[in-house]
């Protein structure tokens, strides 16, 4: 393995079948998360990253079951805590490819504090949020991205809160890679996932992944009818003002919803600040203190 802080070199493609896990997904038939799983497996295969060099780390929720269905290393942690686990893992073994996954409740609700700090910290990892604007596993309550007025089990008279905008939040928090895709357009999803994994630094892919059971508004048909590919329309991904302008639009279908890479710029990733410590992965460091060093440590207190 080569250190990721230097560069991810293109390697020969692998067979996506080899990324299939032992367990068949237990998602509802038609769930958008199947699309995310499939595209992520293809992205890994096309980038030629061997299974054992990858860790997929999730929180809790329907979408957070994803690591169980992919043949890589991984962690299925606590609700909202995918990013803390992923960042701790990544700095300890930085030449592995780390992808954090989870839902909108996990990442933008209970875990939003970690999300903002991960954005500004800029550790080299990829974060896929399967955004369905509803809490699925708990059977249909409002989520941080539920539309204003949306009726759910916990908001039977309509959601009184304005939805959170993950893209402007990310842009405003210093993210170097901000994107949004829709699982109904797998070709685009695979390309953006690949670009995100190759990006040096924290990369967000907010992924519209419709819930077929509990969200009858933000359906696959809704997104099929309303989304368009921003990058096919000459959007300048290095222009943060242009990115903000598009990202600020509420994706409620009142006007076309942009997908693709909104913004990409490489600022030094966190690992650059620890170059010396990370000259080899921390997991491979020799443990313990030499007798000479022990003497020095003690001398500081004498």
């Amino acid at each position: 393995m080569t250190a990721n802080i230097i560069d991810r070199k293109d390697r020969p493609a692998l067979d996506p079948k080899d990324f299939k896990g032992d367990v068949h997904p237990d998602w509802c038939p038609g769930c958008g998360d199947f699309g995310v799983l499939n595209c992520l497996q293809r992205a890994f295969a096309e980038l030629g990253i061997p299974q054992h060099e990858i860790a997929v780390i999730s929180g809790i929720g329907c979408s957070s079951n994803l690591p169980g269905f992919i043949n890589t290393y991984g962690m299925h942690t606590l609700h909202g805590r995918s990013l803390p686990n992923a960042q701790g893992f990544k700095l300890s073994h930085h030449d592995m490819t780390v992808v954090a996954v989870g839902g909108d409740g996990d990442g933008y609700g209970i875990g939003v504090g970690h999300f903002i700090h991960a954005l500004r910290r800029n550790i080299d990892l990829t974060y896929i949020v399967m955004n369905n604007s509803i809490y699925g596993l708990t059977t249909g309550q409002t989520s941080p991205t539920s539309a204003l007025g949306m009726k759910t089990k916990s908001t039977p008279f309509g959601n009184p809160e304005a939805p959170l905008n993950p893209l402007t939040l990310a842009l405003g928090s210093g993210a170097g890679f901000v994107s949004r895709v829709f699982t109904g357009n797998p070709k685009q999803v695979i390309e953006v996932y690949k670009a995100a994994i190759k990006h040096k630094g924290f990369a967000l892919i907010d992924t519209f992944s419709p819930c077929v059971t509990f969200n009858k508004i933000n359906t696959a048909k809704f997104y099929k009818d309303t989304t368009y590919d921003l990058n096919a329309k000459g959007h300048d991904t290095s222009d943060i003002k242009a990115a903000f302008a598009v990202a600020m639009k509420t994706p409620d279908g009142s006007e076309p919803i942009a997908t693709g890479i909104f913004y990409q710029s490489e600022r030094p990733c966190y690992e650059e600040s620890e170059k010396d410590t990370l000259s080899i992965p921390v997991v491979d460091h020799q443990l313990g203190i030499s007798p000479q060093r022990a003497k020095e440590l003690k001398a500081k207190f004498k």
Binding site: D22, P84, S92, T277
Partner: protein, 595 residues
Amino acid sequence: MANSTIVRIAGAAGDGIQSTGELLGKTCSRMGLHVLAYNSFQSAIRGGHVWLQMAIGSEKQYDHGEEPEVVLLFNKTSPAVHVPDVKSGGIVFYNAGSIKKEEIESLRSDVNFYGLDFKAMVDAVKLTDVNPVMINVMLAGALVQTLNLDAKVTLEFIKDKFLKKGEKVVELNNAIFNLGFEWTKANTKPLELKLKGNNIPKMFLSGNDAIGMGLVAGGLKFYAAYPMSPATGILHYISTLAQSDKLIVKQVEDELAAINWAVGAGHAGVRAATGTAGGGFCLMVEGLGLAAMAEVPLVTILVQRGGPSTGVPTKIEQADISLAMGGNGEFPRFILAPKDLEDCFYQSARALNIAEKYQVPVILMSDFFLSEHFGTVDDLDFSKIKIERGKLTTEWNSNEKYKRYAYTEDGVSPRVRPGTPGAMHLVVSDEHNEYGHLMSDVDAGLPHAREARIKMHAKRMHKVELMIENGDASPPILEGDVNAETTFVTWGSTYAYIKSAMVLLEKEGVKANHLHFTDIYPVPREQTLALFKKCKRLISVEANMCNALCRQILTETGFEITEHINRWDGEPFTGEYIVNELKRLEIKKKQLISV
């Protein structure tokens, strides 16, 4: 002539109480004397009233004591608070610039008062660039003279400390120190005191320093934390080593993050720890369960302070055992509590070994006093630290699918480090089978999932028995005369004060011994009960109201301790305090008998 004494230094936060204490502590430790210093401070950066009390002696010091013999007072709040405590015949040096002679001297007639007029004294020798806060260096000079310490050693330390600020700063500090020293020589009577060090410099450090050093000696590579008193010192110390010793040290956004960062790092395969106080630990409890369920080694330092809620951040309490035992569901863990500075070092390294050997969360419990107090140690022996990584491997050559949670005889499964070819697997917070496949969603309740639940839960919990069988969980240690009439039962920093109380009691002809718990969970039941049987009268001594240790003992062994000495005003015990409380218990007992 006495070979030990007690010094108190008091003033406002910002007066330089800490640096005066450091000057004195370092002078003593470099002379080969022993010191033990207690900081009584408030959660304020400037203005609050703070004091530091230091016991100094030729022998190891166990008690910061009640009555100081020499006192330095910096501000006008100080006399009323501290003069009443001074030992009869003792000496008080005070800042005559802020404390009125008439007012302070009217407080006691059996104490010698000496006011130092900083401004007049520096003006007399025409010192320039002087800051009034430097009275602390002048008073340190008075102290060094009165205690008959070696001024050369102090001056050497001043040089070490201030040289980076330039020669001039060193010279100025030397001059001010000498003003205090010479004035005292000319105007006061020295104490009848023989503080003789062996001239072999000792280490002078805090409990948090010792914990940090123990972790690093034990192979720590990763520390994530959120600042919270009194655990922050660990983060501070380890941070200083981040570059030189190639450690990942992260201050993260909150305690939820801190423990989960550490779990992620622990799973990746480094030795990882986090540390906090009780309030922060409350936020970490879910992460503790994650570590236990996912079987990821993890060390969490829990430094107790006055509680509940935000409580009293800068005072001592020992009331968090049930918190350390907390969490949803049942899961294995190991809890240990060092007793003094040396123990902070060795137990921290030991915690890392236990975490990896059993693949469990280990909680190292300290308390405000232990973590924040300073003292001397002769040596910390790094060669005693062995790093044992348990069933961790970076090879997987089998054709079979790797089972992260394989059922094994001892309940501990071989742990292949992520990144190893061919052994891809998932660690999970849900209940699972040997492969780490979830048994909680669509499988829940089905026969194979119920079987997995039964077996996997038993596999994890078996580790608790194994810790006892292997002798890793130790019974308490009984120190002193086995035939003693009274046995004190303690844990954590209270250890030292019992040592001191036993000396005082012996002088009064009372024989006591001491049963001290280091391992708080699991408790080896049979061995512990056997020790209780040897004791005639058991009295617990804990810095809490509700007897946390006794409750733990009752739960784990069925044995009830019925006599207690408690203190929860936030100040640490002293030997004298314990002796007085024991006398009170005696009176109570007699009254009960006579009724």
